[in-house]
Amino acid sequence: MKKALQYVVLILLVLAAIAPFLWLLSTALKGPSENIFAYPPQFIPQHPTLDNFTAVWNKVPMLWFFINSIVVTLLTIFFNITLSVLAAYPLARMRFKGQGAIFFSILATMMIPFQVLMIPLYLICLKLNLTDNAGALNGWLGLVLPFAVSGFGIFFVRQALVTLPKELEESAVLDGCNSLQILWHVLLPLIRPTLATLAVFAFMATWGEFLWPSIILSEPSHFTLPVGLVQLQSAFSSDWKLIAAGTLLSMLPVLVFFFTLQRYFVTGATSGAVKG
């Protein structure tokens, strides 16, 4: 009896969490003859159709939104992991002059809000031709490079590397490994879960990012999904069937990613929270 009650509560919570998306789905599936403002609302579409999805796909460069978002996100993840590992390795496993000062200044960057940097970053990107006015590739780089390195990423990888035992390197050196071989063959395989968690962080921060892409991008075919969706919203201001269809399409990759890599999302949330 008590268990049944608990399940009822849980189901209500899940409904509260996904109802807004289900309502989008219901709207997107409605046929041309159905009134989406009907009172009382029609929850189950009477003439379900996928036409709204194909219509939005044809009316705006949806495919490009996806391609741009995927390319930018993958590049950002790649840069983040590479640069974090490169910086974290000496900080965690070697001793050198200026180590403390360097580590401190890296931590200090975590205190600088992006909203302060975005104006000068915009000027820098204009100077370096890193906006999409100079082409799609430049636009991609303009979106990626400012987020290529993160103080948090370096800190996160360093914390993982620092806990590994010293004997690992000592025996590797006796075997004739150089520092790069030690990193690649000995240390990195041991911190794979940390790197996966960092990848999830970078994914979450990049995939949904709106502020910076909206500043850098101007040509619709260069838009990422969030910028494209906002434009969709103003272009079809009252056609909620199309807006709902486009919005739902954009959710698919995130949901797939989330349900396959769930456990890294949760480690992320519990390891101390680092949003925006």
Binding site: L13, A87, F96, S105, T247, F258, F265
Partner: protein, 307 residues
Amino acid sequence: MFKPRTPYLYLILPAVFMVGFFFLPLLMAFNISLSDYSRDIYHPAFVGWANYAKLAHSEPFWQAMQNTFVFLFGVVPAMVVLPIFLALLVNGKLKGITLFRSLIYIPVVISMVVVGIAWRWLYADDGLINWFLSLFHLPKVGWLVNPDIALYSVMIVVVWKGLAYYMMMYLAHLQSISQELYEAAEIDGANLWRKHWHVTLPHLRPTMVMVGIISTIGSLKVFTEIYVMTRGGPVGATKTLVYYIYERAFENLDLGIASAAGIVLMLILLVFSMLEMRLSPKDDDAKALEKLKRAETPLLPGKNGVA
């Protein structure tokens, strides 16, 4: 073990990015905030602290500040308290509980733009929420078009999206509370309410402080949710500090004022970040991290750090 220059070789590339995209822009931001761009954006003139003085007398700036703090004082208490109840609800050992947790977590992983659009549709004049109110013979509410209400409507969405995130943080700490404490309380005759009041709450207090500070920092930076749902309207009722910066910089091209407001934002955030460091529970965190490490690297059970 290694050559003395080896560590520096590894650091070169990250350092180039750090300098180019953090330290240089930070210096530039200070510099821009001391210049006047409003006359000629290509030939800014040095004006000292004039932009800061202008801000201090600017009506829209203080309006944005006020909105930001109304937002903060509404959202932060909700984020600190409500997820505790959620965490208690999903803490059971029920069958399929992990699936329930994941489903409840969905709003966290969906991007703010998508969430904003979904809620704009719910909040529509003839939308689902107003229909629901009509069932109880309540009048329609202009959720996003009434200047007295719009900011609160956005706050509801932000809380709705963030709850599960903090729920997971609380859950992690709930599960670290020793079961024996609850058993002892039961032997002393404590009921459910008193058990949570005397055992759970004191253990969660450090987490509550963390959640409070994290959500404060998030609230101070709120932008995308506003842009998507109201564009700062109606009549500026939902313009927040970051919205003000964005508008000044990229719509009015008044980079000087915008940068000055950005520096003000950074100083406010700095105060809260300091608080976070001062108040963050050192040994609790270390323990939690240690637990995490063990869970993550099963190859090395219980090895000590060699820092």
